[in-house]
């Protein structure tokens, strides 16, 4: 009687293990060839870090406010993903988005690009999309570092900020 129940539980555990293995493989090798990683602003996630360093950014009413440039975030992408699309929804409040760059080598070595697609959204928000080839981005232990660069909207604006509402990365094979 005891052994029968233990055998049944053992079968349940084996089924859970197989299900878990299938889920893990499916999430890392998505069947639709694209993996969406969305940042939770102000929070470190295992796949994508929060924007930093801290004195240059602050979290105001759920939006990430950039006070000074450059700021960075880390993305942990699997080596079989060849392309990364960085999607940013932002609002310029004295600072404008100059570009996003992937770290090209050790140290301060970034290849900053301007947005490939830039569209206006409601209430002054804008959406910018940047394309990166991950083979060109330096990635020790699968960690890719990206830089977000800003510049003053006008020469007279000494103090300004850039608000970020959403940071999303789409990885493609």
């Amino acid at each position: 009687m005891k052994k029968t129940w233990l055998k049944r539980i053992s079968l349940v555990f084996a089924a859970i293990t197989i299900g878990f293995a299938i889920w893990l493989v499916n999430i890392n090798f998505p069947s639709y060839d694209a993996l969406i990683i969305e940042s939770e602003l102000g929070q470190d996630l295992p796949a994508i870090s929060k924007l930093g360093p801290e004195p240059r950014v602050k979290l105001v009413e759920g939006y990430q406010t950039v006070l000074e440039s450059p700021i960075y975030f880390d993305l942990r992408a699997m080596p079989w993903f060849k392309e990364a699309q960085v999607h940013l929804i932002y609002k310029e409040e004295g600072l404008s988005l100059a570009g996003v760059g992937g770290q090209a080598g050790p140290g301060f070595n970034y290849d900053v690009k301007t947005a490939t697609i830039n569209t206006d959204q409601e209430d002054g928000w804008q959406k910018a999309v940047f394309y990166f080839t991950l083979a060109d981005v330096y990635s020790p232990k699968n960690i890719n570092r990206f830089l977000i660069s800003t510049e003053p909207t006008s020469l007279t604006d000494k103090e300004g900020e850039l608000q970020i509402k959403q940071l999303k990365v789409i990885l493609k094979k």
Partner: protein, 68 residues
């Protein structure tokens, strides 16, 4: 009275067997996930923290040691 004693003994053996089962699955699972994540950093730890499996394995190991 004897029947009650047998029942308790049966219960104890069942929980011991279950703890053994849980230990095997969680410890082997943890070791496999650790090895995979060492080879491909982020494959496992991007989605979950396998340390929970180790914690469950340690708890079941303590049960196994104390009930032996």
């Amino acid at each position: 009275m004897k029947m009650k004693f047998d029942f308790l003994q049966y219960e104890e053996k069942f929980w011991y067997g279950l703890a053994e089962l849980v230990f095997r699955f969680t410890f082997i699972g943890f070791a496999v996930l650790l090895a995979i994540d060492y080879l491909v950093p982020g494959f496992v730890t991007n989605w979950l923290n396998p340390i929970w499996l180790l914690i469950i394995a340690i708890i079941s190991a303590i049960i196994l040691i104390t009930k032996k």
